[in-house]
Symmetry: C2
Subunit: 332 residues, 2 copies
């Protein structure tokens, strides 16, 4: 920057001002500096700037997996909300593990993000402590934690799954099963299962049929294997609720492969409204959960929170509940 300043015949402070907007600087000087920058191929060092200004321009975002169209949509919503704000996403993948999340939170905080967005409301005690003491706005998403750390943007996975089972009951299905992963690490999956169990009880259905198969997130392939095992164990079963659309899709395709009519022999429902569910044949009944909106509203909330923090007037903790809807299609 000193080189640029010398070449433009100004001080470094003026160069610094030329690179930001909102600073008072003569148009002519700015042009001269821009020229010098172009000539020298200078690129601002933002880490140095952050150190001085105490604004890193980072937002830390932790999602369970990159390879999941739901979370991809959420981070797209976030990216879009932050467009033009000068804020940059620092993305991390937890692989559905709270231990990995804890580790990632640590390494993220070392970068001094201005806010942090996490997926879900269950964390290791240490992770929770780190978040609480971080001094930056924290947003928990994709869930409605009973004891939120700060802000929340999400919905109740249990209620959404309850609604889905209720809907299937309304369609006349009575022997409804649930297909999900084997672990409780995927808390959203566990919540959905809880919603299923609640619905079975509330509807007065006698038997709950839970087929746990594979480590979450369960794949399409595992969904296919699960439905075969399900029908072996409970041949009379007339509907299967899958923990995600991906497993529902796998189950559906396996049925087609075996010549099992869907929904005549067995109905299949998913969760998440992945793109694939509206495109495959037959189209899959699912719960649409507005992933993009979760990210986008979290992004907008976070912008307000950061601005508040910066002006010394922190905004109070907010809980934004996003909507979901059962989408009836051809598999039920």
């Amino acid at each position: 920057m000193a080189d640029v300043a010398k070449r433009a015949g100004v001080s470094t402070m003026t160069v610094s001002r030329a690179l930001r907007d909102g600073a008072s600087i003569a148009a002519e000087t700015r042009d001269r500096i821009k020229l010098a920058i172009e000539d020298l191929g200078y690129v601002l060092d933002q880490s140095a700037g952050s150190l001085s200004s105490k604004r890193t321009g980072f937002v830390a975002v932790l999602i369970p997996s990159i390879n999941n169209s739901n979370f991809a949509d959420t981070s797209r919503g976030l990216t879009d909300a932050l467009e033009g704000s000068g804020l940059q996403l620092l993305l991390g993948y937890t692989d559905y593990s709270t231990e990995k999340e804890e580790e990632l939170i640590g390494s993220m905080l070392r970068r001094r993000p201005e806010a942090i967005v996490v997926t879900g409301g269950s964390h290791t005690p240490r992770a929770r402590r780190l978040l609480e003491k971080s001094g930056i706005p924290v947003i928990e998403t994709w869930d409605l934690p009973s004891q939120p750390i700060c802000h929340v943007v999400g919905f109740s996975n249990a209620a959404a799954c309850f609604a889905l089972v209720h809907h299937l009951h309304g369609q006349g299905y009575r022997r409804i099963a649930f297909i999900g992963g084997t672990s409780n690490q995927d808390t959203r999956g566990a919540d959905r299962r809880a919603g299923y169990e609640n619905a079975i009880a509330a509807l007065g259905l006698t038997e709950s049929r839970v087929m746990s198969f594979g480590t979450p997130p369960i794949s399409g392939k595992q969904g296919g294997e699960a439905i075969v095992k399900l029908l072996e164990q409970w041949p009379a079963c007339d509907a299967a609720v899958c923990v995600s659309d991906l497993s529902a899709f796998g189950a559906l395709m396996e049925c087609q492969r075996r010549g099992w009519a869907v929904p005549r022999k067995i109905a299949i429902a998913g969760f998440g409204d992945f793109e694939i569910s509206s495109q495959c044949h037959p189209r899959i009944t699912t719960v649409g959960v507005n992933c993009y909106a979760i990210g986008n509203r979290a992004g907008k909330l976070l912008l307000r929170a950061i601005e508040g923090e910066h002006r010394g007037e922190p905004i109070p903790a907010e809980t934004i509940i996003t909507d979901y809807a059962v989408i009836t299609r051809e598999t039920t």
Copy 2:
């Protein structure tokens, strides 16, 4: 850090050493410092550290889209390769636009990454200049540029698509069409189309049938619409090569919806071997391109390059060609 130092009765330098491994420090002192850190809830400020050590620990990665399982696999490969190295990905999405790429390269370089990975070999002139002058290892992936900037990890999209068409010809198909997006911004898509055209010419087939539909990346829905238009325009067409598995899947599902037998009425092939292609019914013939390996090998290359850079012995530009293979399944 000064607080921690005071509490542990040492200097800040010793605290700094306690936080890195490889530094000479007494185990007892380290424990005392760790304790003080835990008590005070201190979190190292890495930006300040980077400024001093000139090592930011960032690796910039630009991919066209987050919502594409191919690129998701590539970044997973990268993440895995970098595991434990202390390097952190700085991910950016170009939306298949070179303008956006240029802008992103600028904002990434301001963070002083230690290496940068870009997708494809075509960039705006300014973007190219920025990369060349960046002074860090640059890796172009997913392509074999004729004039690489530095390192390359990829394959020839044209050759891979050529091989696919050749394979279809071997299966007996003669009136082969290509379904892709309308723009040339997606250079990998354009390369695949070129490979198709070359193959048609090389095989002595008389007519090339290119159905361009929608802005890349074309969706499953667009794939479905495209195959309908394709068969309207060229009813005798007996096989369709789609620019990606997603569009192939959409086309396949649309055929099923209309009761068109695949592959009897028309064969369908994709590109990329997305998970979906091996799970749907019938399974889709495609070209497997080893996305994970592209990311993983790029990651390992980059580690060597950074280390070389750091030791003052930059490694020479490398070109790693990853393999691909036509995977014959049930749609052809």
